[in-house]
Symmetry: C2
């Protein structure tokens, strides 16, 4: 058995730190509002840096405000684990915070145990993962990974016209380190699922093999508004009907291509009267699949059907691409480290993919990466009612700890 | 050949009267705004009564403002023809006005020709056919036919809270006659089609065999709003998807049951975000068929499918009936009179059904009735651009004239 193979985290300490952080920006309904680069975010940052220093980590902060606390050990690039501490406007206590505090707990256990590591271990808290106030989301990890320039990040403005650069300066969120300086050997992130699967299956955690590719479209269909009584079917150019057919087809396509989800979340018919054939229909499509080639096929089939359905009704169609994120397949070795860690606790781990975006998918661009999920009761997230039981928080943090240990001893 | 069988209307006089009436409430875009019981409607009424008197008709006005101008002849119940002179807020020159003025023209030709009739002929202008300001529509003919009480009609209020009773009094639209006093032997109405069929087929007119039954529904589907990325298809309760499936199915059903039209004119998804599965969807369905038993079958199939589609997605469905008008089959003898009239001009008449509501369908409840339609260019109606060529107006009025003659000589 490798040194430290029986280590476990201190569950009380983990939960206690989560509670402490949840007080910063706490809302009366039990939720948290700690928007990126706000005064509350700054308070959270200061608390985190103090905790890191108390544990004995070496703290470095880069120019976009990403915080790194390193446990020096061995040589070479560190194993890194972390997440974010910013929240959406009506956020919960676990989204992001869990991943940072569990990594901090792992660092403390590793340090206190005195177990020999061949590499340093770095706890990371990335800026503005949520993108609730300043887009894009995953801003800090994107800047760290070099897929977003610091200038572009600083130039992002909120609805009131305030820029990231201004807010970072106003709340002293930034440090001196150039982004991307700490290039990890491997990255691993613990996060709540933000979906219903683990809760519904009664599982304590899942190992995340990848993040879905995401494509958002807005389809505008233009036909002709006509009298609903006097216009025979063969004369109609019913934009609403075409929209309905495409939405129904998107679900059929999702069912037929493994791993796909398809959602039409927003729709408008014009003129929108009970007795007028819709002359115009606008709706959104959100298509996701963990495999980009499958997602290509989903998009190809849905858009081919949409063109045919529009042509059959003599309706014009304009497709606007609103967003496009490639799928990420996590690293087999990091997944294996998580898998062996889970089995060391006697668990048969469930494999899953993430439907939501996370810092780990950005870090996967510069380092081997993977994730662990713990359940969100009823799948609730971005919601003050977001909840994960303490035993699940602790189980997830333990899986993270032993995986970090394996990676830092490799 | 029967006496008067070669009579024709005076086309110039018909068009000239249409132009004169179109000046009353004329709008700058070439349209007409003559809302029921308004000052403009009153001006139109006064103009019509003066024209009727100039022709030599005996004018009677009932308590809901229906205007009747009778050419005395023979004995018994009169043949009646007419329509309405009120318009929607952004109306055209022909909808309603044509049917009244063509009937007046027929009366004038019959009178001037001195042809012997066995029955009187009455020209009718019914109040508030449009229902644009005060509901229900077809108010005057409904009161005349006894399907709406005078009290209920008087109590109807517009959006500003003004009642029909107040407006009728304010603009002196009413007379002393009790509604329903003049019970016709037969009723025939000339109207523009308000649909595209005759224009598309290049036909000058069509004989209307009936009016579609109309059923309006509002369906509210309640599922669960969920994350579009993290919620697997099998966990979804996607109210929007169910709405789309029902709308697509309604068209399939309409195609499979002869004479059906189905329209979903209005739709809302909630919360209406691109990345949230719709937790709620609300939409309207407008189903029509000229045959009530077929319409029963359409409704049965669509609602059975809707229940199944909702249950399959674990979505709750509430169906509200917004409106329900039975189909009307026009009278075979009146249709035959129109048919022979058309053939006397060398036409092979097209038979059709009306998708819109007309006074004739209400009058059909108390007398044998039928209609003639003339083309609406591009199917436009309730629109300032509503247009019918003079030659079509004249052809329609001629068919009306000779049908009235046949009915009044029978």
């Amino acid at each position: 058995m490798a040194a430290g193979a029986n280590l476990v985290i201190d569950g009380d300490r983990l939960v206690s730190r989560l509670n402490a952080l949840a007080q910063i920006g706490a809302t009366p309904d039990g939720g948290v509002r700690r928007l990126a680069f706000s005064a509350e975010d700054k308070q959270g940052r200061d608390w985190l840096v103090a905790e890191m220093r108390a544990v004995g980590l070496t703290v470095e902060i880069d120019r976009i405000g990403n915080i790194f606390g390193t446990l020096p050990a061995g040589e070479g690039a560190p194993v890194m684990s972390g997440s974010h501490i910013d929240t959406v406007a009506t956020g919960g206590r676990y989204d992001g915070a869990l991943g940072v505090i569990a990594a901090l707990e792992a660092a403390q256990v590793l340090k206190e145990s005195g177990v020999a590591l061949t590499r340093p271990f770095t706890v990371a808290a990335f800026s503005n993962e949520e993108g609730a106030r300043f887009q894009p989301d995953m801003m800090g990890s994107c800047v760290h990974a070099g897929v977003l320039s610091l200038d572009a990040a600083f130039a992002a403005r909120d609805a009131a016209g305030m820029s990231v650069g201004q807010e970072i300066a106003a709340h002293a969120c930034a440090g001196e380190m150039e982004p991307g300086t700490i290039r990890p050997h491997a990255f691993v992130e613990l996060h709540i699922e933000q979906g219903p699967i683990l809760d519904a299956e009664g599982r304590g955690f899942g190992i995340v093999e990848g993040v879905q590719g995401i494509r958002w479209f807005e389809l505008t269909l233009t036909g002709e508004p006509n009298h609903a009584g006097t216009t025979p079917l063969s004369y109609r150019r019913d934009a609403g009907l075409v929209a309905a057919r495409i939405i129904a087809f998107a679900r059929e396509t999702a069912l037929s291509i493994e791993g796909t989800v398809a959602t039409a979340g927003r729709i408008v018919f014009e003129p929108g009267q009970v007795n007028v054939v819709p002359g115009r229909a606008l709706f959104t499509l959100d298509l996701r699949n963990p495999d980009d080639s499958r997602l290509d096929e989903v998009e190809r089939r849905v858009m081919a059907f949409a063109r045919e359905a529009a042509a059959a009704e003599r309706v014009e169609m304009v497709v606007r691409k609103l967003a496009r994120f490639p799928a990420v397949a996590f690293d087999a070795d990091v997944i294996a480290a998580l898998d062996r860690s889970a089995r060391s606790f006697g668990h048969e781990p469930r494999r899953m993919v993430s439907g939501a975006g996370h810092d780990a998918q950005i870090m996967a661009g510069i380092a081997p990466a993977a994730m662990v999920f713990v359940p969100s009761v009823k799948g609730l997230s971005h919601n003050p009612a977001e909840f994960t039981a303490d035993e699940d928080l602790i189980a997830g943090a333990n899986v993270l700890l032993r995986a970090v240990l394996r990676l830092a001893q490799a």
